[in-house]
C-alpha cells in the first residue's frame, strides 16, 4: 500500500499579512442526487452527523461537515481514514436511489488562511464580497481564485479553508503567497 501524501507536503508560510498552510489529508465525499429525496438526505446527514445545510451554507459537527455545492450536489468532509467506512454506509442507504457518492479526497487540495489579513488575502483573489457583515462563518462559496475554480468557507472568525483541485495546488499556494506577501496590506476591512 502506498503512503498517501498531500499535494505540497504540508507547505506553509507565515511571514506575510496572513498565515498560510496546506491542510493535512482531508477526506472528501461528493454526493450528487436529488437533495430533497429522503434517502439522499438520510445518507448525507447520517454519514456526517450534521443537519442538511441551507443553500450556500456549510454545517459542521466535530470533525465532519456538509457543504452545499449546488442544488444537486453536497460535499461531505470527514477524517481521511474514515472515508471508506463512511462511503460504505452511504451506499447502503442510497442502494435504491438515483444518486452518486464518490471518494474525491485525493483529487483535491485544501489550504488554511488565517490571521487578521485573511479576509484581505481572499478578497484580492476572488470576486466575492468579503466584507465582515457580508461573508460570515457558516457560509460556503464556490468561486474562482484568480484563474482556477475553488471553494472556501470560514470555520471561525479570521480563518478560511479553501478547497481546490489537487493539480492546481501549487498555483493556488503561489497565489496565496503573493496575495499575503509582507507589506501588502491594503487595510480595506480595518476600521
Amino acid at each position: 500500500m502506498s503512503e498517501p501524501i498531500t499535494a505540497l507536503g504540508g507547505a506553509s508560510a507565515d511571514n506575510g499579512i496572513a498565515t498560510l498552510a496546506e491542510a493535512p489529508l482531508q477526506g472528501m465525499i461528493t454526493l450528487r442526487g436529488d437533495l430533497t429525496a429522503s434517502a439522499v438526505k438520510k445518507a448525507a446527514t447520517s454519514a456526517s452527523g450534521t443537519a442538511m445545510p441551507d443553500q450556500g451554507m456549510v454545517t459542521a459537527e466535530k470533525d465532519r461537515a456538509l457543504c452545499w455545492m449546488s442544488p444537486d450536489e453536497l460535499l461531505l468532509l470527514c477524517p481521511y481514514d474514515a472515508v471508506g467506512e463512511t462511503l460504505d454506509r452511504m451506499h447502503k442507504v442510497l442502494a435504491k436511489s438515483h444518486a452518486l457518492a464518490v471518494n474525491v479526497s485525493d483529487a483535491r487540495a485544501m489550504f488554511r488562511v488565517s490571521g487578521v489579513g485573511g479576509r484581505e488575502v481572499m478578497a484580492k483573489l476572488s470576486p466575492v464580497d468579503l466584507a465582515p457583515d457580508q461573508f460570515t462563518p457558516g457560509m460556503f462559496r464556490r468561486t474562482r481564485l484568480a484563474q482556477v475554480p475553488a471553494a472556501f468557507w470560514m470555520p471561525e472568525e479570521e480563518a478560511f479553508h479553501i478547497i481546490c483541485f489537487r493539480s492546481q495546488a501549487q498555483y493556488v499556494f503561489d497565489l496565496l503567497t503573493v496575495a499575503a506577501q509582507p507589506g501588502s496590506s491594503v487595510g480595506v476591512y480595518q476600521e
Binding site: 443553500q55 450556500g56 455545492m69 449546488s70 442544488p71 450536489e73 470576486p127 466575492v128 462559496r141 464556490r142 468561486t143 474562482r144 475554480p149
Partner: protein, 109 residues
C-alpha cells in the same frame, strides 16, 4: 462591470464568475429543414443596441445554466429567469417595457 445573480444558487457575482452561452431562445432547425431555416439557426444572431436576451452559465459556482435579460449599452440587468423555458416570462417582458418602451427582440416585444 456586468453583475448577475444566479437564480439556481442565489449568488450575486460579477461576470468573470460566469460564462456567456450566447443568444437565448434559438429555435433549432435540424435534419429535414430548409437550407434557409438551417442557415438562420446556425448563423443569424441578434446584435442589438439595447435589450438583449442571453444564456449564461454559473461556471465557477453551481455550474447551472440560466437566462438573463440585459441592456447591451448600460449593462443593466432587467431580470434573470430559469433555463427551462422557451420564452421570457410575461412579467419580465412587462418590466422591460416600463423601462424601455417599444423594445423589440426577435418575435418578442
Amino acid at each position: 462591470m456586468l453583475i448577475l445573480s444566479c437564480p439556481v444558487c442565489g449568488v450575486t457575482a460579477e461576470e468573470t464568475e460566469f460564462q456567456g452561452g450566447g443568444e437565448a431562445h434559438l429555435k433549432r432547425f435540424g435534419p429535414g429543414a430548409s437550407e434557409d431555416d438551417f442557415e438562420g439557426y446556425l448563423f443569424m444572431r441578434e446584435n442589438p443596441r439595447g435589450v438583449h436576451f442571453e444564456r449564461w452559465r454559473h461556471a465557477y459556482g453551481c455550474g447551472k445554466w440560466f437566462h438573463a435579460a440585459r441592456c447591451t449599452t448600460t449593462l443593466e440587468v432587467f431580470g434573470i429567469y430559469s433555463a427551462q423555458t422557451t420564452e421570457p416570462p410575461k412579467d419580465l417582458r412587462d418590466k422591460i417595457s416600463e423601462k424601455r418602451p417599444n423594445w423589440a427582440w426577435r418575435e418578442f416585444e
